[in-house]
């Protein structure tokens, strides 16, 4: 086997179409084939956002896949260093726009733990409630988009119908539809509006019914199964090695979930069901997603039963300063483990705020997952390793 790398310009037909394509001619004597280098993204429907995957194709088989990230890098960590802790909350819910509440919660927790602040009981319960609604919101998005990428165009419209309702619900409490900015250090922006809990209870019933429809629509579909079963199998040890978390990790059979292993807020008071898969393929990942919606709805129901009255905020000094030191807080975000490593030098803005985002680690495993897969399977894999590009690039 000898590999000849032709220069750019010596492409397919001189002066004709395809000129300039970089081709690699390999093999001698046998059937000679050319690897094709293909850029998926940064603008591509399957990368929902601006992820770019450079793939080398042998026919339709991927020889090598290299994710290229950073197209959406907005330097949140740097920006955070020049803002005080209250402002950071409005900042961090932006990188993963589908899990805004869970992200801001992480920062608030980090600052609170550093300040050793006691957050009112009701605020903690509401945080759990909102975090779970946010999780449902997020998962619905991916339920829809995964189907869409596989060519099933209907589920996404159904999913968005529910998303609309839930967004309306959360908007009534937070004033935001995407970037809620509802958490504050020491509590919440304000209490829930009247009727929120009743509406929540009604909504959980609705979404539960609809969720089973999605299950029928996609999980029961033979073509869907054919497209996702045994596609993109991620072994558990590799997943851990890459720091893959969330539904993608759970699909491999590891039930590592910060809500269970290191409960924050009031997750210790509720029963959190963590669905796990068996094989770690795309189908499992999707199933986990649907199961997690149900699990979240269960948690919401428990919160509705237990939420106490009381204040939702503590009074803070005018200037919130975290004492000197460092702390790492991890939360189970919809896409996986979100973490904030906060190094403070005692000022009102952090010395260093490291955002550990689930998507970054998940996407870093992409090279492993995509190798030797078919181009069409790449879509199934990209769609089932749930990520948000803003969360990757920060």
């Amino acid at each position: 086997m000898t590999d000849t790398l032709l220069r750019p310009g010596s492409g397919m037909l001189p002066g004709g179409p395809g000129e300039g394509m970089l081709v690699e001619v390999r093999g001698e004597g046998e059937l000679r084939t050319q690897d094709m280098n293909l850029n998926i993204g940064p603008q591509h429907p399957a990368t929902h956002g601006v992820l770019r995957v450079v793939i080398d194709l042998d026919g339709e088989k991927i020889v090598r896949a290299t994710p290229v990230i950073g197209y959406m890098h907005r330097g949140f960590e740097k920006l955070a260093e020049a803002r005080d802790y209250r402002q950071i909350i409005a900042l961090v819910n932006r990188h993963d726009w589908l899990s805004a509440f869970c992200n801001e919660l992480g920062v608030a927790l980090a600052v609170e733990r550093m300040m050793e602040l006691e957050v009112p009981d009701r605020a903690e319960w509401i945080r759990v409630l909102m975090a779970e609604w946010n999780r449902v919101l997020n998962h619905l998005m991916f339920v829809g988009s995964f189907g869409l990428e596989l060519g099933a165009i209907t589920p996404v419209f159904f999913a968005f119908r529910e998303r609309e309702d839930i967004q309306g619900l959360m908007e009534s409490a937070t004033g935001g539809r995407l970037h809620f900015t509802y958490t504050r250090v020491g509590g919440l922006k304000e209490d829930l509006p009247r009727g929120f809990l009743a509406a929540s209870a009604k909504m959980t019933r609705n979404v539960r019914v609809r969720n089973s429809e999605y299950r029928d629509l996609l999980e029961g579909n033979e073509i869907f199964k054919a497209r996702t079963r045994k596609v993109g199998i991620l072994p558990p040890d590799v997943a851990l090695d890459y720091g893959v978390s969330g539904p993608t990790l759970h699909a491999t059979g590891i039930a590592e979930d910060a809500r269970v292993t290191e409960p924050y807020c009031r997750y210790d008071k509720v029963n959190v069901h963590v669905p796990v898969g068996a094989t770690g393929d795309s189908y499992d990942r999707f199933q986990i997603l649907l199961a997690r919606i149900d699990a979240s709805l269960d948690i919401i129901d428990q919160v509705l039963d237990n939420i106490p009255p009381g204040p939702v905020n503590v009074k803070l000094p005018k200037i919130v300063k975290a004492p000197e030191g460092e702390i790492y807080v991890r939360t189970e975000n919809p896409l996986g483990q979100g973490g904030y490593y906060l190094v403070s030098d005692g000022k009102k803005n952090p010395w260093r705020l490291k955002m550990r985002t689930p998507s970054f680690n998940n996407i870093s495993a992409m090279s492993y997952l995509l190798k030797d897969q078919l181009l069409s399977d790449m879509i199934a894999i990209l769609g089932s390793v749930f990520f948000v590009v803003g969360d990757v690039d920060r």
Binding site: F196, L197, L316
Partner: protein
């Protein structure tokens, strides 16, 4: 194992290669010898008692003089314990290098690339740190190093650098070139606004002059200083003249001892109604925030919020000629809070929803709006969202200040420096190293800061314009938070005592 046990275990296994262990907030940080990082990582992963199989993240941390630390966070799914594996890269700030642990944890690959991209820490044995993972390929510098400045901060300082009350107390005394006197009486509003405008224009003109002078100086210097000198001279337009200019512009803001300075932006502060040291007014200024940020449930405030909001532009004083007598605002708000609607809503909330925790009906008690109540409303109720406004409105003050002060003893020209610069400069000089050292290291690292060491020759003989030449814009002086420390300490002292927490959270909205 508890973190303490883990620390002990690490010491047993790695011996002297563990240089430090620390347990804070129940989290263990093990500092290891840089050389031993892969060994330690392997131990973490493979030792059955540790079994740190989950690679969580890795991150650089700017460790000031010590260079850059790299923290690797590992977690054990099996034992459910964490460790922060920390190593300080040898090579200081110039050439930080660490051995790579990609051979142990595959996930470290991207994280090491990120650490390189953000801090310039090189990892020996990494399969390829380039192309840079997050920034663009021809990006210069390492963004998360403290000497790297946000360009927005260079253009406009961060108003949130100081809280309103810090600023007033601190600045009133120190401000040298305060152009405007205490905020004028309301009758003179317009005249004062016009005056401020004129002042700003003047300041701008001064800045332009300074810029030209700087350019001229640069042109002259070119043969002597070569390219870099020229750049250094030409770029730092914030020459002495500009200092004055910016001081002039800013001078309008620090209306001494008045909370009106909340609205930081330059002369705009003038447009607000007067009465410095009148807490009522302060309350008015911040009322909208208090209203939106208080903890009371939302039920009642549909109408209320709107009312306050509509009042807000006038109260906030941004560009809006303050025709409305500001002291009315808190009253108005209180009235609404006290109105039947609010009460009904609050009461209904209690019945209708378990959610109704904090209620608004306490508001009535504050009806005779005394100064204290208004103050409370603004100061205490506000914090959550108070963070929003200044930050959005404009960017920090001190960024630009440190920037301009550079590693040069700016205090030498006290007359020329307005207070933020002056104050910022002093601590910068006192702070150990970062300033000067950074300049040097940055020179080598990024090439952006080439000018940092150059301009000295030009310094002596240049007056305002030339003054700039020894303050290279790109010198990445001391970490921009640093000079603030002294300042903030002062401010802290001046902080009003923290309001005691009301147990139920009631009555915050008045």
């Amino acid at each position: 194992m508890t973190p303490e046990d883990l620390a002990e275990y690490f010491r047993d296994k790695l011996g002297a290669r563990v240089t430090d262990t620390k347990v804070a907030h129940g989290q263990l940080t093990v500092t290891v010898d840089p050389e031993a990082l892969p060994t330690a990582a392997r131990l973490c992963k493979e030792d059955p008692a540790l079994r740190f199989d989950f690679f969580d993240w890795m991150s650089g941390v700017d460790e000031r003089d010590a260079g850059f630390g790299v923290v690797t966070h590992l977690y054990s799914v099996e034992h459910r314990h964490h460790v922060n594996l920390r190593a300080v890269a040898p090579g200081g700030r110039d050439q930080p290098r660490l051995p790579s642990i990609t051979g142990v944890y595959r996930g470290a690959n991207w994280h090491e690339r990120e650490a390189y991209d953000m801090f310039g820490v090189e990892f020996d044995g990494h399969p390829g740190l380039l192309p840079r993972i997050l920034t663009v390929e021809n990006f210069e510098g390492f963004p998360l190093r403290k000497e790297f400045h946000l360009s927005t901060r260079d253009a406009k300082p961060w108003p949130g650098a100081k809280e309103p009350e810090e600023r007033t107390s601190a600045e009133a005394g120190q401000s040298v070139t305060t152009i405007d006197t205490p905020a004028p009486v309301s009758a003179e509003d317009k005249a004062a606004a016009a005056k401020a405008k004129a002042e700003r224009a003047k300041a701008k003109a001064a800045a332009m002059r300074a810029k030209k002078a700087g350019e001229r100086a640069a042109a002259e210097l070119q043969p002597a200083g070569g390219d870099h000198g020229a750049r250094a001279a030409a770029e730092p337009q914030p020459a002495g003249g500009d200092d004055q200019a910016s001081a002039a512009a800013e001078g309008a803001a620090p209306a001494p001892a008045s909370d009106t300075a909340t609205m930081d932006a330059g002369g705009e502060g003038l447009d607000k109604p007067p009465a410095p040291s009148d807490p009522d007014l302060a309350g008015a200024g911040e009322m909208p925030e208090a209203a939106s940020a208080t903890d009371a449930p939302l039920q009642a405030d549909e109408g209320e919020a709107e009312e306050t909001r509509s009042a807000s532009p006038a109260a906030a004083g941004e560009d809006v000629p303050a025709g409305t007598p500001a002291p009315d605002e808190p009253m108005g708000a209180a009235e609404i809070a006290d109105s039947d609607i609010a009460k009904d809503a609050a009461a209904g909330a209690v019945q209708g929803d378990v959610a109704a925790g904090a209620t608004g009906d306490q508001a009535g008690e504050d009806e005779p709006v005394d100064d204290l109540a208004a103050e409370t409303a603004s100061g205490i109720g506000a914090p959550p969202s108070a963070s929003g406004t200044p930050g959005v409105e404009a960017e920090g003050r001190h960024g630009g200040a440190t920037e301009q002060s550079g590693d040069r003893p700016a205090a030498e020209t006290p007359g020329m420096n307005a207070d933020p610069q002056g104050r910022a400069a002093r601590p910068a000089d006192q702070t150990p190293a970062p300033g000067a050292d950074d300049g040097a290291s940055a020179t080598r690292d990024s090439g952006q800061a080439v000018s940092a060491t150059m301009p000295d020759p030009a310094a002596p003989d240049t007056t305002p314009g030339g003054d700039a030449s020894d303050r290279p814009v790109e010198s990445y002086p001391s970490p921009d938070a640093e000079p603030l420390r002294a300042q903030e300490l002062q401010a802290d002292d001046a902080d009003p005592p923290v309001e005691p927490t009301t147990p139920s959270g009631e009555g915050e909205r008045s």
